[in-house]
């Protein structure tokens, strides 16, 4: 790589498309452009890169000539499902099991619903299926749980079914047979037949998108893939052409929900895996931050306009989940686990008519009309309006970048909206604003507490990383509630943190196999199984990433006590397995189980079972070390100081807080509370007794001081109790 080379990450959001550009010296700049719905996101994509290039003083041509990698987080597949404008999909499945995707395991009504809606059985319907019944074709064939063929595939029925589907104007097809994870021969043969009959048709097999047990989840994953496939594929092709037409030979990588990148060629085949990848970039940024700063455990919190998202990094790795969900359809795809509640800057405050209590969310003013203070016609009081009234947000700030396109805030409109609410509550406007913030903070603290403690973990072992427009304003409060002492706000790029995470994520494939192995485990047998799946994935990586690629394998086994419900994934060393490593895996599993569920949850004498093995071929991408400044004096320079403003920190009387321009603070500077550090698109609120230090990389470390803590007590007493 030459000195002039650049890498970038592009993240398309609801209002803005963000781009982060990194150079070899570790300079990090960003650009924002309005998301361009009218041309299928294309101009927004390229404008954001150009805007970032301008920040580096480069022309469009220079940027594209120098880019060696463009990493992209796309929400296009998610949007297609949410808006129901995907392709007309046919489904070929095992005869007698045509209704699997209609049944949704009986969970269609409540899956993915907010807690507020779970009980609304009359009001909330089950979603319409993605494939109409007329386009679901059952084919005589059957494979059993060992992969043995019980009934041969009836090829004639396949041909008839496909012809029928073609006549019905099908645009994409999914094939999903029972037990194809044990024996994919029937799916592969069906695919061959369809390719002969309709060579240009987008085809997805169940075993290609999911290798896990459970026909509903696998079939719906195949269906979703086919549903979003043609449009997503065209979109990626269009962007790739745009990149080439601008003279760039940069590799084009797409963010996946598991936290790794796929080359566009792979992502065009498996777009279902991009669904839910939107917030994953931020957590991958946290993972890198953890490594940089030496923290093992991080709670990544993203407070945007409508939601508050939480993801965890435990022992340096993101906590993952097996199950993903989009618009009530749940399927198995390893994904970085992110929990979300309706508590963002745009969350609307309202009064419950029965209790008179003040509630915040889950309804949101969204980007349009947005909070009242945006002046776009919103009249409902929101969290952002409260933040503005309480002095947390600089009233002169402009949301968004670009000349003439930013949003100027209107404090009077915020006050008007909140005063109406205050009148209903019989309290002052400031008390109501403070109340909105307190309620929102409590909801966020509760979500984090349930997430962290629910996984058997202790919040005190974590630091919070806060990003997203509204995050740093509130972070101190929800972190303090949990007894967490440190909050990190990742520098000026905190409002484009997801794009940054995307830009530095490695290429990672996934390969998994369901097995039934009972203890005592045979090292050789397990090694053979791993080598088998790794050889297959090697070929794929060489083909799609390049012959000279250096692949590292990360191995995992999913284990449980025989007959127990809960399994845990345990990492293995990548070396050849032997009796010693097997012993270590068993020990690791047992201690992990004890740690999560308490020592009494171990069933004495129970046999262990390995349910599945997973290997991740990883191709490391080049990532720069973020540029470090020389450490300066602890006192902020005079030019960083802004005029004081009145800020309400918990009481009804304001304090005169010191205000700083975060961009002008230097590495090593310490700001003591009460103070506010204004940053582009957000601000850091510092209470008395708290302090913030800017690091040499430009991050802000907020120290909350020692507080009496409950969480440790809770976790340890919970473990003792069982």
């Amino acid at each position: 790589m030459t000195k002039s080379e650049l890498v970038c990450g592009v993240d398309i959001g609801g209002t803005f498309t963000d781009c982060v550009l990194l150079d070899l010296d570790g300079n990090v700049v960003y650009g924002k452009a309005l998301t361009s719905y009218n041309d299928g996101f294309e101009s927004g994509f390229f404008n954001s890169i150009e805007a970032a290039g301008e920040q580096m003083g480069l022309s469009t041509q220079e940027v594209f000539e120098r880019l060696s990698r463009i990493s992209h987080g796309s929400t296009i597949a998610t949007n297609i499902v949410a808006e129901r404008n995907g392709s007309r999909v046919g489904l070929i499945t095992t005869k007698g099991h045509e209704d699997t995707i209609i049944m949704m395991r009986g969970l269609g009504r409540v899956a993915g619903e907010s807690p507020e809606n779970i009980l609304k059985v009359v009001e909330i319907p089950k979603p319409d299926p993605l494939v109409s019944r007329q386009l679901i074709k059952g084919i005589a064939e059957r494979i059993d749980c060992n992969g043995d063929v019980v009934v041969e595939l009836n090829e004639q029925e396949i041909r008839e079914a496909v012809q029928d589907l073609i006549n019905s104007k099908m645009e994409a097809v999914s094939i999903s047979f029972l037990w194809s994870i044990k024996n994919p021969s029937h799916e592969l043969r069906a695919k061959e037949i369809i390719q002969e009959m309709a060579p240009d048709l987008f085809i997805t097999c169940g075993h290609e998108v999911s290798q896990t047990l459970g026909e509903y989840e696998r079939t719906i994953a195949a269906v979703i893939n086919a549903y979003v496939g043609p449009t997503t594929s065209k979109y990626l092709e269009k962007i790739q052409k745009g990149i080439r037409s601008r003279g760039s030979e940069a590799s084009f990588l797409i963010m996946q929900c598991h936290g790794g990148m796929f080359p566009a060629i792979r992502s065009r085949q498996a777009p279902v895996l991009t669904i839910g990848s939107g917030p994953v970039g931020g957590i991958m940024g946290c993972e890198s931050l953890a490594e940089e700063l030496g923290y093992k455990n991080i709670i990544g919190t993203d407070m945007g306009g409508t939601t508050f998202d939480v993801g965890l990094i435990v022992n340096g790795d993101p906590l993952t989940s097996e199950q993903a969900i989009v618009d009530k359809f749940f399927y198995n795809a390893p994904n970085v686990q992110i929990q979300s509640i309706g508590a963002g800057g745009g969350s609307i405050a309202w009064v419950d008519s029965y209790s008179g209590g003040l509630r915040v969310g889950p309804q949101s003013a969204k980007a349009n009309p947005g909070p009242a203070c945006y002046g776009l016609g919103g009249e409902e009081p929101t969290v952002t309006d409260a933040d503005l009234l309480l002095g947390y947000i600089d009233p002169e700030t402009v949301f968004g970048t670009g000349s003439g396109r930013g949003l100027h805030l209107n404090k009077e409109l915020a006050e008007k909206a909140i005063s109406k609410l205050a009148a209903k509550l019989g309290i002052s406007t400031i008390e109501a604003a403070q109340g909105i913030v307190d309620v929102a903070n409590a909801k966020m603290a509760n979500l984090i507490e349930n997430e962290v403690i629910g996984h058997g973990l202790d919040p005190r072992d974590f630091v919070v990383v806060s990003y997203g427009g509204a995050g740093p304003v509130h972070a101190a409060s929800y972190a303090e509630d949990l007894g967490i002492s440190t909050v990190i706000i990742p520098g000026e790029i905190s409002s484009v943190w997801s794009a940054f995470g995307i830009s530095i994520s490695d290429i990672r494939y996934e390969t998994e196999k369901e097995v039934v192995l009972l203890s005592p485990f045979d090292a050789e047998e397990l090694e053979t199984l791993f080598v088998e799946i790794e050889n297959k994935s090697k070929d794929l990586v060489y083909k799609e990433v390049g012959e000279d690629t250096n692949i590292e394998f990360k191995r995992y086994v999913r284990m449980r006590f025989n007959w127990q419900k809960h399994s845990l994934e345990v990492p293995l060393s990548a070396e050849t397995l032997n009796d010693e490593t097997i012993k270590k895996v068993v020990n690791d599993f047992t201690s992990m189980y004890k740690e999560r569920y308490g020592s009494a949850s171990i069933l004495p004498g129970a046999q262990l079972e390995i349910e599945s093995i997973r290997s991740e071929p990883v191709v490391r991408v080049w990532k720069p070390n973020r540029k470090m400044e020389a450490i300066s004096h602890v006192s902020p320079p005079a030019e960083s100081k802004k005029p004081e403003r009145l800020v309400y920190l918990g009481g009804t009387s304001p304090v005169k807080a010191q205000i700083y321009n975060g961009s002008k603070l230097l590495g090593g500077n310490i700001v003591e509370g009460p103070a506010v550090i204004d940053l582009p698109g957000t601000s850091i609120v510092i209470d008395s007794g708290q302090q913030v230090q800017k690091t040499e990389r430009g991050d802000f470390i907020l120290s909350l001081g020692e507080k009496e803590n409950k969480s440790n007590e809770l976790v340890s007493s919970l473990k003792e109790s069982v």
Binding site: I118, R142, V151, L178, G356, G357, A442, R596, S601, E713
Partner: protein, 769 residues
């Protein structure tokens, strides 16, 4: 004469009869309760505490999900968590199995009244599974724990979890062949299983002793304890942070808020009584009887009174303990009436009065077998509670609220439980939980839905075939929507499902299996009932030959073999590997008369294979053209023909102007009470109360609200209740008929009813005007 309070307490004591607490509770002076609270709590602090308490209960559930091992508990969310006042009253409960709610407060109040002498202290927890106190059947084990602040009980936390096997004469503890409680699993009245933070090993040993899977039971006990403990610790933290006066103040305010929401609902309901009757069948293995179950709700001012008057005496193994029966009513209130309260309905409960008749099927005295209540009688009770609450809602003066009425879900939990030796040579028990895939009933403006879960277990999940085939020695042949199984109506119910399997590479005995003949899931306003559960066995089939010919049968019609008929609550059946078992889970009933259904919706149902073309014509009177469109003219003629035939069946003559009657505009007087879309009750100028048909406006019954008396009545066979019903004498010895009640003027169907000849028809409503 009404009993005095002392007499009531003495009678409903949890020993001979069910335990029903009456305020004030008799609490030992050794027990100190924290009762002080701040009355004026600001709206912000209130909301922060309210949300946190809700979060505490959620976390309680999460701990159980993490630690529990019983598959029924986890997949079908067969557990519940709750938060109570210092006196045990419910503040809120979770989104898990709803009817457990009715048991949790009772067990805490029993502990307060009967275990206080020895002291109830910090670190104590009580376990019970006594159906005469607080267990809907013995496998539903409850654990409750006080949250103690400065030596006083501040509040209580509690959970109930279904256990895989707690003993009794059938593996899995659903003992359908138990003649009495002495053949059921053991019932443990509340005992202090945790003392000062430590499990009592002696009591635990007793608790585990009767179970076939004691290790699982021990682990689930720890999950229950850990769940309560997590809640206790978080609440204590809140007390430290906000102070006990504020937290208690917020709890009280939550109660008053849910009370206000409930009273708001009550304002729109006229005073009156609404009733439902269903017949349970086959009291235990070998029995061939039919048994009547009644439920009524009376709304009087701000109070709802629930009675089971007229219910037959307790018998066999089909009894529903009082706490389960009560819980089914709380479930319907929570989900159908007050879903916005998110489980915090404590303030409504003091406005509910339960007045059961002791010694009956829905309030048995001690001695009755109750262990299979979880698949028979509790489901019947929840279906009936759903029905009476919906009938009451349909009489609301608020048209929006009337639309909240919901057709009931199946009145039995349909199941196959098999056991034997699996493909790996291990003993196994396989409960097939497809019923959880579920169905929902029709509403006043929407069809029910196949595979839409069960509203009373909102987050329950049905099984994947691959997971079952991995663990059990069976191979599924098919599992799909059960066409034409739902009750028809203006809005039809959701279909149930049907599946078949064969034993495969193992040894399989079919244990508990559903097989019933009496329609039990009643339709609203003339909608036809939901389907029955059946298990069919085709012995010595040609399945292997079909497989080798490359065929996958999708119904038993494609298979040859000898059918063996199953009996209600039959004994276990050994299966060979050429035997095929087919069973179905039940559907939901419809709403209204199917002749009123939009023909385009009928066509869509045919296109989507929800109903057959045959049903479209015979049931709905909708004729399709050869090109697959609705033949409007032929449909009109067919529907008129069906309507005229109704008159004929009832030995009456159709009026000449029948078509005109149906198309005229009906002006419903402003002071009339509408009963759904089909009837209205009105007092005329001569002060005579009449029930009118909303379709033609004419009077159905003059001077009486018993509209059935004025209706055209057709007595038909049980098979006429729906396509999948069979001759009833296969199951029972008593005669039963399917009655349909039509408007005497326009023959619109207004109601249906299953009835024994000796019983009067059921009175659906009596409104106080």
């Amino acid at each position: 004469m009404d009993k005095t309070l002392a007499e009531l307490k003495d009678f409903w004591n949890g020993k001979e009869h069910a335990y029903i607490p009456f305020k004030p509770l008799n609490i030992s002076p050794n027990v100190r309760l924290h009762k002080e609270y701040e009355e004026e709590i600001d709206p912000i602090t209130f909301e922060v505490i309210r949300h946190s308490l809700w979060g505490v209960n959620q976390e309680h559930g999460k701990v159980i999900e993490n630690l529990a091992v019983s598959p029924i508990t986890l997949e079908t969310r067969d557990f519940q968590t709750s938060l109570h006042t210092e006196e045990g009253d419910i503040i809120l409960f979770g989104p898990y199995l709803q009817y457990f709610s009715g048991a949790m407060d009772l067990s805490i109040q029993y502990v307060l009244e009967h275990r206080g002498e020895q002291g109830i202290n910090e670190g104590d927890m009580f376990l019970q599974n006594d159906p005469w106190i607080g267990a809907p059947h013995q496998p539903d084990v409850g654990v409750c724990a006080p949250v103690v602040w400065e030596g006083k009980i501040f509040c209580w936390v509690s959970n109930v979890m279904h256990q895989n096997d707690i003993g009794g004469i059938m593996p899995g503890s659903f003992c359908q062949n138990a003649p009495d409680v002495f053949s059921d699993p053991p019932s443990f009245p509340p005992m202090k299983i945790v003392k000062e933070g430590k499990i009592d090993p002696e009591l635990e040993a007793i608790y585990l002793r009767a179970s076939r899977t004691p290790n699982n039971l021990a682990l689930d006990l720890r999950a229950a304890i850990a769940g309560c403990h997590a809640s206790q610790v978080r609440i204590v933290e809140m007390l430290k942070k906000y102070g006990p006066m504020k937290v208690k103040g917020a709890m009280r305010k939550m109660m008053t808020a849910s009370e206000a929401a409930f009273m708001d609902f009550m304002k729109s309901i006229p005073d009156g009584t609404w009733s439902e009757r269903v017949y349970q069948e086959v009291a235990l293995t070998g029995d061939r009887g039919v048994y009547k179950v009644e439920l009524s709700v009376t709304k009087k001012g701000g109070t709802l009174i629930f009675k089971n008057k007229g219910t037959d005496p307790q018998v066999g193994a089909i009894n529903a303990p009082f706490c389960g029966w009560r819980g089914t009513i709380l479930s319907a209130l929570n989900v159908i009436l007050l879903p916005d309260q998110m489980g915090a309905i404590g303030g409504a409960i003091p406005h509910l009065k339960f007045e059961p008749t002791p010694g009956t099927l829905t309030c048995p005295d001690y001695g009755a077998a109750v262990s299979p209540a979880g698949i028979y009688s509790n489901e019947l009770a929840i279906s009936m509670a759903n029905s009476v609450i919906s009938k009451m809602i349909m009489s609301s003066m608020d048209p929006k609220l009337r639309k909240m009425a919901l057709g009931p879900t199946p009145a039995q939990w349909h199941i196959n439980i098999h056991y034997g030796v699996n493909q790996r040579g291990d003993y196994y028990v396989g409960p097939m939980l497809e019923h959880m895939i579920g169905t929902t009933g029709a509403t006043l403006d929407r069809d029910g839905s196949f595979a839409n879960g069960l509203w009373w277990v909102p987050e329950g999940k049905g099984p994947n075939i691959e997971a079952c085939e991995r663990d059990w020695p069976i191979l599924y042949l098919y599992r799909n929507e059960h066409q034409d199984s739902a009750g028809s109506g203006r809005f039809r119910g959701g279909n149930g499902g049907i599946l078949a399997y064969i034993p495969y590479k193992g040894q399989v005995t079919l244990g508990t299996h559903s097989s019933e003949g009496v329609p039990k899931t009643v339709g609203l306003q003339g909608g036809l009932p939901g389907s029955r559960g059946d298990t069919r066995i085709i012995k010595n089939s040609n399945i292997n030959s079909l497989f080798s010919q490359g065929k996958m049968p999708a119904s038993t019609e494609e298979i040859q073999g000898q059918e063996t008929l199953t009996n209600g609550k039959g004994m276990p059946i050994d299966l060979s590997d050429t035997d095929i078992v087919e069973w179905n889970w039940g559907s939901s009933p419809g709403y209204g008369d199917e002749l009123d259904r939009d023909p385009d919706l009928v066509l869509k149902d045919v296109t989507d294979r929800i109903i057959s073309e045959e049903a479209a014509e015979l049931t709905y009177g909708v004729k399709l053209t050869s090109a697959g469109y609705v033949d409007e003219e032929a449909t009109k003629i067919k529907r008129l023909e069906i309507r005229k035939n109704r008159f004929k069946q009832c030995q009456a003559s159709a009026p000449d102007n029948l078509e005109d009657l149906l198309s005229k505009n009906i002006n419903i007087p402003n002071d009339a009470i509408q009963i759904g879309d089909y009837m209205f009750v009105h007092k005329n100028s001569r002060e005579i109360t009449n029930v009118h048909c909303s379709c033609c406006g004419e009077v159905i019954s003059n001077g009486s609200q018993d509209f059935k008396r004025g209706s055209l009545i057709y007595e038909g066979t049980i098979q006429e209740a729906g396509k999948h019903f069979v001759e009833i004498d296969r199951y029972v010895d008593q005669s039963l008929s399917f009655f349909q009640f039509f408007c005497p003027t326009c023959a619109t169907r207004l109601a249906t009813e299953i009835k024994r000849p000796q019983d009067d028809h059921s009175r659906e409503f009596e409104i106080t005007l």
